[in-house]
């Protein structure tokens, strides 16, 4: 595949962010906060780290991504369209009737591996995909993006045990640790302060990074790919709403679009990039 430099990745992440804002504003609904926080991670995955081909989206050898936090669909749909899985013009159908772009991640969309939206299930799906890879002696990697509110679900920890038991070194989880969930801050709703120790004690590699630093994201994933026995859990410290000042760290924008034309224009201005 093409080699993208860090400067390209930055531009791609900017495009993803612009499209996120355009989609949720057009739909008058959706989840910008947790989409903006993973834009840099998505740029690295889809434009550098994942072995994928938009012209051959079901190749058995491809890497897989399950976006377990399915409400971040605008981010994923934007990344897929920019990567060429479907025309960018389709993004305007997001959350509207007669469009495939369902409110939460939907498998009918080219490039999407699994429908998600109810939290805590995508990691188990990833375990199944990684197990199948082992059974079939394939070399693909399975990536799963989970949220830090999401890991309050017990089913995540069930899947963590299974990943460890079956030594799924082909499974890489990226935690979008943005500190905010629907009702407020995760530290107040259900504090999980020691994720690194927790995942280590479950038998996983644990790597903590700045989820907006391309170099750190790339190096963590490269390290995870080299794991011999254990699955890897990358704790990406991120900012919810990253790139739009009034959305940053603001629980209000977990699930609400820009409230006015003025807010909309301001968001695009702050994100920058080209129209």
């Amino acid at each position: 595949m093409e080699q993208y430099k860090e400067a390209d990745l930055k531009n791609i992440a900017t495009s993803i962010r612009r499209k996120i804002i355009e989609m949720v504003y057009s739909a008058k609904s959706g989840h910008p906060g947790g989409s903006l926080s993973i834009a840099d991670i998505l740029a690295v995955l889809y434009f550098k780290e994942m072995n994928i081909d938009p012209l051959d989206p079901t190749n058995p050898e491809r890497d897989r991504l399950v976006l377990s936090k399915g409400h971040a669909s605008p981010g994923l749909y934007a990344a897929l369209s920019i990567r060429g899985f479907f025309p960018e013009s389709l993004l305007s159908g997001f959350r509207k009737l007669n469009s495939k772009l369902e409110g939460h991640v939907h498998r009918g969309v080219p490039g999407v591996e699994a429908s998600t939206g109810s939290l805590g299930q995508g990691l188990g799906i990833g375990v199944g995909m990684a197990l199948a890879g082992k059974l079939d002696s394939k070399n693909y990697h399975v990536f799963v993006i989970v949220g830090d509110g999401e890991i309050e679900e017990g089913s995540i920890w069930e899947a963590m045990m299974a990943g460890s038991k079956y030594r799924l070194n082909n499974l890489i989880v990226i935690l979008d640790k943005n500190g905010v969930q629907l009702d407020g801050y995760t530290k107040d709703i259900m504090p999980i302060e020691n994720v690194k120790e927790m995942v280590s004690s479950f038998g996983w590699n644990a790597i903590e990074i700045d989820g907006h630093n391309f170099e750190e994201i790339i190096s963590a994933i490269e390290k995870a790919k080299k794991s011999k026995e254990k699955p890897t859990f990358i704790i990406a410290n991120t900012v919810k709403g990253k790139g739009v000042s009034y959305m940053e760290n603001n629980p209000k924008y977990h699930g609400a679009p820009p409230a006015s034309q003025e807010e909309y224009e301001r968001a695009l201005r702050e994100i920058g990039g080209e129209e």
Binding site: P60, V66, R107, E113, A114, S115, T116, G117, S118, G120, Q121, G122, L123, G124, I125, G126, V127, G128, M129, A130, L131, A132, G133, L135, D136, G154, S155, E158, A159, M161, A162, K165, Y166
Partner: protein, 321 residues
């Protein structure tokens, strides 16, 4: 209590899986620490690489089943009926919404679980599963039909399927060559006066009841409705037209089970009285499996009593039991 030879449905399931494992290398089986009871252990011993014991973690089992199916595997996943229900949402979102070829085969359903008591005797599962879009629901009547259902699902099954098996052995009613057809009912006994439609072990009760009814001058038709979804609408409408009265019998709640499905069809197409025998908005109880049928007014005598009631001068369902 039950006449004739009985065989274990779960043994039949485990053995059939083992046979199919040789035929289909992409067949994988998951369990949640109950494999020696559900009998998936028979497959597990033969094919340890394709058997995944996910521990007491049913949500993980169901999501993993989805991931395996998305990667091209033919998946069977088993636990006790009651414990699979805690994964309703995983089944809904990860399996049914993705419309994956995942087969959930559960054992220890209904009151025949016996001594373990109410906590383990689920009588709501068929209703819960039938409501899921894309999900198909089958309740084999005996070991022969169990093998046939499992064969069918492994060879031609599409989308998510739920198969309900028991802990107890059930009487063998079908002959060796019987073949299950999804969406088709099977008539065990013809009759013109009334139709008794049964599900699971209660079909054998219905056949015994039909013998007693014959001595009382009532000729009852007995149908095995093993495919609950899709259901055989033609067989139901035909029974309604030809016999004018329907009694349903099930080891399940009368709400959202076989009786409800049958009544839906008759209401829409040919309304006749449908009297439903089963668990009446209640939990089960510890006791011997077979004793519980009498305790809950679901035994052979109760079927006879209810069916006779249809022919009273002023038949009234609420007089029963």
């Amino acid at each position: 209590m039950l006449k004739g030879q009985s065989e274990s449905l779960r043994d039949a399931y485990g053995e059939e899986l083992k046979t199919l494992g040789a035929k289909y290398t992409e067949l994988v089986v998951l369990d949640a620490d109950l494999s020696s009871s559900t009998k998936t252990s028979i497959f597990g011993k033969a094919y340890p690489d394709r058997f995944f014991n996910m521990g007491i973690a049913e949500q993980s089992m169901v999501a993993t089943a989805a991931g395996l199916s998305l990667s091209g595997k033919r998946v069977f996943a088993s636990t006790f009926a009651v414990f699979l229900m805690r994964t309703y949402e995983q089944m809904r979102q990860s399996v049914c919404y993705n419309n994956l070829d995942v087969n959930f085969v559960v054992t220890h359903s209904g009151i025949t679980v016996g001594e373990d008591g109410a906590t383990h005797q689920i009588v709501e599962d068929v209703g819960i599963m039938s409501g899921l879009p894309n999900m198909k629901v089958s309740v084999p009547v005996d070991s022969i039909e169990t093998r046939s259902v499992i064969d069918f699902l492994a060879e031609r099954g599409r989308g998510p399927n739920f198969v309900r098996l028991s802990r107890e052995k059930f009487p063998v009613l079908n002959d060796k060559n019987y073949e299950f057809k999804q969406g088709k009912a099977h008539t065990f006994k013809d009759g013109d006066d009334v139709t008794i439609i049964g599900m699971g072990v209660m079909v054998s009760f219905a056949l015994e009841a039909a013998e007693q009814l014959k001595n009382k001058g009532i000729d009852a038709r007995v149908i095995n409705m093993s495919s609950i979804k899709p259901i055989d609408r033609n067989a139901i409408v035909k029974a309604a037209k030809e016999t004018g009265h329907v009694v349903t019998v099930e080891e399940h709640s009368i709400y959202n089970g076989l009786g409800s499905r049958v009544a839906e069809v008759t209401s829409e197409e040919y309304p006749v009285p449908v009297w439903r025998l089963g668990m009446r908005d209640t939990f089960g109880k510890s006791g011997k499996g077979w004793e519980l049928f009498d305790y809950f007014h679901m035994g052979v005598d109760d079927i006879v009593k209810m069916t006779e009631g249809c022919f009273r001068e002023e038949p009234r369902y609420e007089n029963f039991p």
